[in-house]
């Protein structure tokens, strides 16, 4: 069992957990993830390690409640325990001093981009971050990003905060302003990552994305997480999760992530029934943009 030290909402439906996992805290590198099972009988769900504290022996994960497991996880509080946490898994981000490096996060994707932004800064890059959300309350980790980035541009779809528009538009503006950008890391919903890839492609800017397929073991044993990159099949859990954005088959990834949509509904219905008997339901509204977000943490 892995104890939750603290738990707090960063945005409606997006919760940050600090979990006791000393070994993982010591080992993890930017870009790596854990697989958690919240309880006996639970499914195995991958979540990126957003941060760690070696002296405290803790890791930080940030989850958006979309699927059954993440919704249930978001009811967990400080003092509760998570059944299983295994990691760190996956290849660490490739970090070097590229020059100017832009980290882009959409919604909860910012939590996944954050550790890599830290590492890019440590490697000596001039770091820029563009962190988007559909409205002000969905822009997360701005303070944290400001500490490690030389420039931070929050964006909102509705203009309620920061730049009015998508993260892609802000990126394009930066590029078109004539600044030399050497590296882009983009993490968020599949349509966003695809749009970023298309934005940087004509300029030949090296662009990485972190893929979010459905996983089971996370150790290369099942092949459920396979994706097509550069016309070749990869196992995202061991060959990734980060890949060259210009070579990823995003359509395939989006399609494979729909494999269990019907089942997810069944599970959610069951969960709703169970919850109704336990507590008053807190209504939450989600727009479509959000639903497409991170099936990694919903699968």
């Amino acid at each position: 069992m892995y104890k939750i030290r603290s738990a707090e909402f960063l945005a409606p439906n997006i919760k940050k957990f600090v979990i006791e996992a000393p070994k993982i805290a010591e080992k993890r590198k930017a870009g790596q993830f854990v697989i958690i099972r919240i309880k006996e009988g639970g499914e195995r769900v991958p979540l990126t390690i957003a941060d760690s504290d070696i002296s405290e022996g803790t890791i930080t994960i940030i989850a958006q409640g979309i699927g059954k497991t993440t919704k249930e996880l978001n009811t967990f509080q400080a003092g509760d325990s998570i059944q299983d946490v295994v990691g760190p898994l996956g290849k660490p981000s490739h970090i070097e001093n590229f020059g100017t490096a832009v980290s882009i996060g959409g919604g909860v994707g910012t939590a996944i981009a954050y550790p890599t932004a830290v590492a890019l800064k440590q490697a000596g890059n001039h770091t820029i971050s563009i962190i988007g959300g559909r409205s002000r309350e969905f822009v997360i980790l701005e303070d944290e990003m400001r500490k490690v980035c030389d420039e931070v541009y929050p964006t909102t779809d509705d203009g309620s905060y920061g730049y009015h528009g998508f993260v892609t538009q802000k990126l394009k503006e930066l590029i078109d302003s004539g600044r030399k950008i050497d590296f882009v890391l983009a993490i968020g919903p599949i349509p966003m990552m695809k749009a970023i890839a298309e934005t940087t492609r004509p300029y030949g800017i090296q662009t990485m994305v972190s893929l979010n397929p459905i996983m089971v073991d996370g150790t290369g044993m099942c092949g459920g997480c396979r994706a097509t990159v550069d016309n070749k099949t990869v196992f995202v859990c061991v060959d990734g999760p980060e890949f060259d954005a210009h070579k990823v088959d995003f359509a395939l990834l989006a399609q494979r992530n729909k494999s269990y949509l019907g089942d997810e509904k069944t599970a959610l219905e069951k969960q709703t029934l169970e919850q109704k008997s336990r507590e008053e339901e807190k209504k939450e509204h989600e727009c479509n943009y959000d639903k497409m977000f991170f099936s990694k943490i919903s699968s």
Binding site: K23, G87, C222, V238
Partner: protein, 473 residues
């Protein structure tokens, strides 16, 4: 047993294994074979003519004293029989269920020459179950503590049996397992209806009682490297990580939705209990009323196809590129699959999967003919020109074998692997290229059998014991 003459004993027919009927069992995940009663076991044991020079033992990869244990069964001393088996086999309840006896011990049985072979596997299972159900798995004496520590990586049959022996020798043993459950393929691969998970659990608990430590959620290579284990006080390491990298066909359409590796399909159903979805959270493809095709002909393929049938598949096919004679699966599994309504298509090979809206809808197959024998001694399938045809399917499961998982290879630079990714060892000592590191089971042999993995685990335990008493030898 003296009263019955050898001749009369030879007249006793091979006793049938009581089992759930075909129609009933495809609706549940309960074990198909129900096991011998005492009466059946005694009758079957009497069929053994107690050869002065038993040949059956030569067919057993670990040399179980078959004649002797069967003699004890005939006398009704089942606990003594269990102890006799355990001198050589650490996991008899498992092996009695899953060993390919028909090509091992039973193929060598003299009775089989004129009549039918003695049901050695069934008797082994009976004896092990009798012990577990009546007195619990008996834990042997543990020698005085040596103060030496051994790390075992992987909790499959190789790791478990190695741990059992090392702890008895007085060493401190910790098993590191990547998954959240213990047992390796025995829990994530082989289904409940063939090997109930409670049996594996009982074996693990018996080891726990003896003092073996288990650490789940520990992926060696990531959580700790082998070097770190050695630096952090372990005197030796046994690598028993199994195969664990599913092969795909590398044909177009293989990443469509509804195409699974057998590992993924079986892991979802067995380890994650998707057959109880939504009571358990993990889903799996909804096979109900669908056409499911499993590609391959081994035990894994049989397990997958029979699982699909139990999940409600309308049609469940085995599609195999050789002919029935070459099927590598245990005979009993093939027989059970047929009884359960599984359809077999032989000499067919898939060359493309065709989808609609992202989901698999058809397989393009090609007929094969058998040519010259290949390296494995089996006749090699060759494509028949102009024989391509389409088949409607809703789901495909690829069960064509496993390669080696690359995690340890990538994180242990001074450990020698061969071209196929298997760890290279010195046969007689189980030593790898790295000092203090031993290896055995599927990671060395490639996908093999439970009994071979178990045997390798025991051989490694004795080699590690030698090494610990004299590391410089």
């Amino acid at each position: 047993m003296e009263e019955i003459s050898k001749k009369d004993r030879m007249k006793i027919p091979r006793q049938k294994m009581p089992e759930q009927s075909g129609e009933k069992r495809v609706t549940n995940f309960d074990e198909v074979n129900l096991g011998f009663t005492e009466e059946l076991a005694k009758l079957e044991a009497l069929r053994c003519i107690q050869c002065p020079k038993p040949t059956c033992i030569e067919g057993c990869p670990v040399g179980v004293k078959i004649r002797d244990f069967i003699g004890l069964v005939a006398q009704g001393d089942y606990l003594a029989a269990a102890a006799k088996i355990k001198e050589d086999n650490a996991l008899p309840a498992v092996c009695g269920r899953v060993c390919p006896q028909e090509v091992q011990c039973e193929s060598q049985c003299i009775m089989g020459k004129k009549h039918e072979a003695v049901g050695i596997g069934r008797l082994e299972r009976f004896v092990a179950d009798f012990e577990r159900e009546n007195v619990g798995i008996r834990t042997p004496q543990v020698k005085a503590r040596t103060g030496k520590k051994v790390a075992i990586i992987g909790s499959g049959p190789a790791g478990l049996s190695c741990a059992g022996d090392l702890i008895k020798m007085g060493h401190e043993v910790t098993i590191f397992e990547a998954l959240h459950e213990l047992g390796g393929v025995l829990v994530y691969g082989i289904p409940q209806f063939r090997l109930p998970k409670e049996i594996v659990k009982a074996e693990v608990e018996a080891l726990q009682k003896l003092g073996v430590n288990f650490q789940t959620n520990a992926v060696i290579g990531f959580t700790d490297t082998i070097d770190e284990l050695l630096q952090n006080g372990y005197d030796a390491v046994f690598v028993a990580v199994g195969a664990g990298l599913p092969y795909f066909l590398n044909i177009p359409g293989e990443n469509l939705n509804g195409v699974y590796s057998s590992n993924e399909f079986l892991t979802r159903v067995n380890l994650m209990k998707a057959y109880k979805f939504p009571e358990y959270d993990t889903p799996v493809f909804n096979c109900s009323n669908k056409n499911v095709a499993v590609f391959g002909g081994g035990n894994t393929a049989m397990d997958a196809v029979r699982t699909a049938k139990r999940l409600g598949a309308k049609k469940a096919y085995i599609i195999y590129r050789r002919s029935e004679v070459e099927l590598p699966a245990r005979k009993e599994e093939v027989h059970h699959a047929k009884e359960e309504g599984v359809e077999f298509l032989f000499l067919e090979n898939p060359i493309e999967f065709i989808g609609q809206d992202g989901w698999i809808k058809q397989a393009r197959l090609q007929k094969m003919a058998l040519g010259e024998p290949d390296q494995s001694g089996r006749r090699k399938p060759v494509p028949v020109d102009g024989s391509e045809h389409l088949m409607d399917i809703d789901m495909a499961i690829i069960a064509i074998g496993n390669g080696s998982n690359p995690i340890l290879q990538k994180t242990t630079p001074d450990l020698n692997f061969n071209k196929r990714g298997n760890i290279v060892i010195e046969e007689s000592t189980m030593k790898t290229s790295k000092k203090g590191v031993f290896a055995g089971g599927d990671i060395v042999s490639g996908g093999a059998t439970v009994i071979l993995a178990m045997g390798a685990g025991r051989k490694a335990a004795s080699a590690i014991n030698d090494y610990l008493s004299n590391p410089e030898s």
